[in-house]
């Protein structure tokens, strides 16, 4: 009896400690974002004197950062980049992932290996020749230039993720369809693709988050007023707001960039978290 009690007490103590540490982490997150949110609708004077929200809510910080800071335009640009890139990456990667995981042909292992190796190449190494080539083609500072880079660059990860899924499906389904007289393409299009819907959505969420937060290529390829992304736009806007001492505007800008990610995460956290976990086990 005594031993059990001691064990129970130890267990309780350990869990109590766990709640305190995890609670502190969560409190830090909530407090920081709460503070930034409150500051984003206060005045800069209130931020400096520690009296957030004292004069009510100032939505005009957001209006200013979206209009004069141009973040509204950059927000729209980033959405365009993300949506087209996600679609483009799928269009190229789904078929490739399908044949790489379901068809037998010579060279399959080599092609797969090349795709996997591609995820390790330093991006700044590939950037120099691409910048040179795109300069000659007139693609620098255009939407097309960054879109090409994003779509092609997302192929290795998207193929890797989807072929993992396709190879987990049983082969009987396609075989039965083909026995019934369907072509290989019909079997892919009307049987396998619908089954892959969940995996396609998941990989698209990952790609979207990657494109939304992408920094390096956006900085080098489209750092101009019309085609800039939200990330680089925020950095530019923060620089000029620091010069003006407009701290309320800086915090409003942070929220504009972070809120879409947060919303996506609130709805999809379980999906995102469990897929990273599954990926870790597979590799």
């Amino acid at each position: 009896m005594k031993r059990i009690n001691k064990e129970k007490l130890l267990r309780w103590l350990r869990q109590f400690g766990a709640y305190i540490i995890l609670g502190l982490w969560t409190f830090f997150l909530v407090y920081s974002f709460g503070w930034i949110l409150a500051s984003s609708v206060s005045t800069t004077r209130e931020i400096f004197t520690g009296k957030l929200l004292a004069s009510g809510i100032h939505w005009d910080n957001y209006v200013k950062v979206l209009t004069t800071g141009n973040l509204a335009l950059y927000f729209e640009n980033s959405l365009i980049y993300c949506v087209i890139s996600c679609a483009g990456a799928l269009a190229l990667s789904v078929p490739a992932a399908y044949v790489l995981s379901r068809a037998n042909f010579p060279g399959r292992k080599i092609v797969t290996g090349i795709f996997v190796a591609g995820m390790g190449i330093p991006s700044l190494m590939t950037m120099i020749p691409l910048f040179m080539m795109f300069t000659r083609l007139g693609l620098i500072k255009t939407f097309a230039g960054l879109l090409i880079v994003y779509i092609c660059g997302a192929i290795p990860f998207t193929v890797f993720f989807l072929s993992g899924f396709f190879s987990s499906l049983p082969t009987e389904l396609e075989e039965a369809a083909i026995m019934d007289g369907a072509t290989h393409f019909q079997a892919f299009w009307s049987i396998m693709l619908p089954l892959a819907q969940g995996a396609v959505i998941t990989v698209t969420v990952f790609n979207f988050l990657n494109f939304w937060g992408e920094y390096t290529w956006a900085l080098i390829f489209v750092n101009n007023d019309s085609a800039r992304t939200l990330q680089i736009g925020l950095q530019t806007a923060i620089r000029s707001m620091l010069n003006q001492g407009n701290y309320a505007g800086i915090f409003a800008g942070i929220m504009v960039v972070f809120i879409p990610t947060l919303l996506l995460y609130v709805f999809l956290a379980e999906k995102i978290v469990s897929n990273i976990t599954a990926g870790a086990i597979r590799t």
Partner: protein, 304 residues
């Protein structure tokens, strides 16, 4: 499955070509350029200089120091990230309630876009006027700690490292947790019954069984650190204290003044060939590190 050749080709070729354009071809062209002096982005007749770019880079203190910086980030930051990830995975598997909520909360910082995360730390948490760190230390009466200027030149590197570790823990926690949860409970209970201590169980059962997961995590961490660019650059745009090899490569290729407003190719002196050489050196190191880690974590399948 019997294969339809036409379908294989038409499904595969677009992706392979697209991928060659942005990956394979640039690696080859970069290697070629690293042997030339290229002083502008539109230069048509670069001068062949042999190994001169490599030699001057390997004698360049700024370049070498940038490797020292990522060495520190790899070691100190890695200790922080892996320590915290193991710690959190122990806490999350201790049978607490709300596990998936806390797991999601630990992962969240990973998703904050870099520019927003860097601004959050530099403009709020480490702010010397109204920062969170300052107010916490002031409230505790620790005035000397409260007066630290976190964003000053001599310690901003460490401030960046703290913020970077905070952002990276979640991803590595998920990977390690996935491994921990696959360790059979019976094994741990049997050891406990035999009188093994918590530390013994961790060192002699959990850790060896996590080998594969740790290998994946260490490889990912090493490659991420070697290529580090966005976070330190967003943390302090022009401070040389933050230089990583990639940041230095960027400065060589696009000019020292390549801040956010002027941007790439805005004139000034550029050293494209030397930047390409820096890229080649970096890629060679990535390959070497990968080979070394594969050697350290030799495949040795444990069945359980």
């Amino acid at each position: 499955m019997k294969t339809d050749k036409k379908m294989v080709l038409s499904f595969l070729i677009p992706a392979v070509i697209a991928y060659m354009i942005v990956s394979i071809y640039p690696v080859i062209h970069s290697t070629y350029l690293s042997f030339f002096e290229v002083q502008s982005w539109t230069e048509n007749n670069p001068t062949f200089v042999g190994l001169a770019n490599f030699i001057s880079l390997l004698q360049n203190q700024v370049f070498l120091k940038s490797f020292g910086n990522i060495g520190i980030i790899w070691l100190v930051g890695g200790a922080g990230i892996f320590g915290a990830a193991f710690g959190f995975s122990a806490l999350l598997t201790s049978g607490i309630k709300g596990k998936s909520f806390f797991r999601a909360a630990i992962y969240l910082p990973n998703l904050i876009p870099v520019v927003a995360a860097a601004a959050m730390w530099t403009q709020y948490i480490f702010s010397s006027r109204f920062g969170l760190v300052k107010s916490v230390f002031s409230a505790l009466g620790l005035e000397s700690l409260a007066n630290i200027e976190w964003t000053s030149h001599n310690i901003i590197f460490w401030a960046m490292l703290i913020a970077y570790v905070w952002g990276g823990i979640g991803f590595f926690l998920l990977i390690i947790l996935a491994g921990v949860e696959r360790v059979p409970v019976e094994l741990l209970e049997a050891a406990k019954l035999d009188g093994a201590s918590m530390i013994q169980i961790f060192a002699q059962i959990t850790l060896p069984l996590l080998r594969d997961v740790i290998r994946v995590a260490v490889v990912m961490w090493s490659i991420t650190v070697l290529n580090l660019f966005a976070f330190p650059r967003s943390f302090a745009l022009t401070y040389t204290e933050m230089n990583t090899p990639s940041i230095y490569l960027y400065q060589l290729a696009f000019g020292q003044a390549g801040g956010t407003t002027s941007g790439a190719g805005s004139g000034g002196v550029v050293y494209v060939g030397m930047a390409a050489a820096a890229g080649v050196i970096l890629t060679i190191i990535v390959v070497l590190v990968y080979a070394l880690l594969s050697l350290v974590f030799k495949e040795e399948k444990l069945e359980y």
